[in-house]
Amino acid sequence: MAIQHASHHSSMTGQWIPSTCGMCLHGCGIRVQVVDGVAVKIEGDPTNPDNLGKLCPKGNAGLSRLYDPTRILKPMKRTNPAKGPGIDPGWVEIEWEEAYEIVARELGRVRRDDPRKLLCAIGDFQRIILWGWPAVFGSPNFFTSLGNYCGGSYHPVNGMVDGSFAAINDYAYCNYWIQLGSGDGFSSHLHVSGSTKRMADARMRGMKVVVVDPRCSPAAAKADEWIPIVPGTDRAFVLGMAHVLVHELRRYDRQFLREHTNAPYLVGEDGFFWRDERGRAQVWDLRVDAPRPWNDVPREAMALEGTFQVDGHRLRTGFQVWKDILVDHTPERMAEISTVPASTIRRLAREFVGAAQIGATIEIEGKVYPFRPAALNYYRGAQSHANGLLDNMTYKLFNMLVGNIDVPGGHLGVPLDHRGFFISPGEDGMIKPEPHQLHPIPPFKYPPDSTHLMEWFPIGFDAGQLNAETLLEPERFGLDYQPEVLLLYHSNPLWNMPETDKIEQIMRRMKFIVAIDIHLTESTQWADVFLPDRTYLESTLLNCLEPPVVTGHSLRQPVVEPLGDTRDAYEILTELAERLGFLDDWNDLLNVVCGFVANTTYMLDPDRRYTVEELWDRFARSVYGDDRGLEWFKRHGHAVRYRTPEETYMPYGDLRIPFYFEYVKRVGAQLRQQMEAAGITDWRFDNYVPLPFWKNSPVIEDGERGYDFYAITFKEALHTFADTVVMPWLTEVSEKDPVHQGILINRATAERLGIETGQRIRLVSPAGRIEGRAQVVEGIHPQVVGVSNAITREYVTNPTVRVKGAHFNRLLTGSMRYTDSATGGLESTARVRIEVID
């Protein structure tokens, strides 16, 4: 009897309902088998090209969330006014009417007083269309590290380079893949199920993988080479490789740089572009040995490099400026900083540029593209640091040196959603910089409106960690109000933010806290009213987030009758909007974020209440046509397809991408003027630079204060987001893996300090301290200790799951000093001392 191909892998009995996984933010396609109203199996949807029928361990554990006995299934209110860890809230179940009344009364009072007094923590990625609710309420605040813990500097730079939100190397064509501080293709980040398949296929066809990471992650374990590195020094390593390409091998893609970037643009001594009397950027015209407007000179005649004298002014091309910066970024100096040997830096640079095949082309579906099958990929570990802007710039520029941006084999931008790249003509023949794809940044304002100083980061992200400083020292920032009410919507600030003690202080000041969630957590246990949401297996939405290879939406639909007395978060927020008197504005916000303003046929009537199904039916039809509404999606599950080569490669066309980030410098100069006019004298502008270079971060400098080790956190495939860390199906497996059993410490280091596996140790950073069980391993840098997210929760409601309590984020600092001055990106590494607890 023949075995059917995997595309028919679902067991025949029962009804299989297509839907979308909600265990991480990315939403792989699933099918759920339901027998007599009970969901009994979740499998990957084989028809969805995103995950090709595969499903990671978290997706396979979804039923244990749906049927989790510790879920909150009815609204509750607190009867014990005392709040804090270990304090019994005295929960009493109430009806929805009473719950809504209380919440609307408290939020209404604040709204009439000053709507900014609402602090908001929102962590529900797949319901991204709802994130503007606080804005409509009137609050600009952001009380979570979400998005910034990994993407604070990443997203702005991706947006400025090619209108993308994320990035990945070309699985299909890459031959040489260097990866820094990322689990892409092995354990985490973009669309894990499909990505690990694509990575495995690429490795099997011979792609070489080099993984740079302070510890032997799953990626490092599978790589052809694991390069250990000091956390936060990946940029030094790559600058060293760039030095090798530019100054030693002199091999780089001159044609790409000249044709597709602003590298040839002339820069004056002040660091700004050299412009003519009409304000046009100039290039050096080799035919006449003089500066000419960029659009008056054929590409072949533009100088890529050089220093020129014009009327007593010293001009250099943007490329020349970086070339000069790179002179002293020798492999030897970078090796001292990163501990990656200089010989390795040289060898990898040589291998990389060789594999890149500069000058090669490839024909795909009848069109010829540049072919550059070598690329550098990176994520949180390599750039979520105090100089994250410079980290991200470095990695992009290194890729640009071999001309691989958005070409077959190379480093590809990943759009935020189905709308693709945000590319439009900007100034000087360049693309328009798009650092903000989630929401526009308000103009500079003093005093600031937002507690996280959003108005002071013109190219930045939402720096939620700054709340720890601004709310406890408001006079320093001119903040003229104090928040009183907190909305926790699928967010756990006491777990996801740095400086937990300060977050707790802030939460203590709240007069009222409302939680929209499924579980009690470190944070939601502080709520005055708990409004129970539905799990992803009981709710409706269309999802398309950061798809690396595909595009199109996947439907999430209820597979069983919702359990208990819960409501969909959309319904909850809409009900509150109506009771608070802004239903019309809420509907208008949805008109904007759902794109109905681009086709008014689907616009919501502001005064009507729409059900969650009505909303998503409109959305589906507005994007896919009237014959593909919600009913079509319920049958087919998704409209996901592969992106075409035209959609994937060279989306910038004839527009130039930034090599020299003059835009960043200009924005910084403008901000400086605005701040001086407002009388702010102690703000930093040090990262508003046009090109990256090496400088120490405060974490590195903390070494001089006796904090001699680096502490990092990490995750692997079993656990992402706080709520997966306490699911028993997953924890009973992760607890068996040594890397999730304690604080990882290098064997040689442990021997030197007299530490053995099982001993209790304490990590002390400038900001806080944690305790845990030592786990001696080979696979970590001798100067580094590692704390898996699996051991970080301090509060667990399921009695079969042990609390490990090594809450890593207590070690991190949320202050401006440890924050990237241009992007607001936070520092995800801490310097620590190790103490042995007797």
Partner: protein, 95 residues
């Protein structure tokens, strides 16, 4: 007379007093349209949204789904066009 479909979002909606309306339009440009739309304060949408010939920074205008720049108010309109005037919510959040 050509018909233009006009939609208004947020504060723009509150100014003109409607969310969507198809109107008979005798003018030629977007600026003409804004002058033809009365607002609840006794003025016109043009007076509220335009400053020195340019669209105010806290508003956006879409014509058939395409966003205009602040200087593109002389964009010509044709019968059947869809114009959306919207107040920009600067504090929208995403992740």
């Amino acid at each position: 007379m050509p018909k233009i479909h006009v939609a208004a979002i947020g504060m723009a909606r509150k100014l003109v007093g409607f969310s969507q309306r198809t109107i008979d339009f005798s003018g030629e440009t977007v600026a003409d349209l804004l002058r033809a739309l009365n607002t609840v304060d006794g003025r016109t949408l043009y007076a509220n949204l335009v400053c020195e010939g340019k669209l105010r920074g806290d508003y956006a205008i879409l014509v058939n789904g395409m966003s205009l720049t602040a200087e593109q108010l002389e964009t010509r309109l044709e019968g059947g066009d869809e114009v959306v005037t919207m107040a920009i919510l600067r504090h929208l959040h995403g992740g």
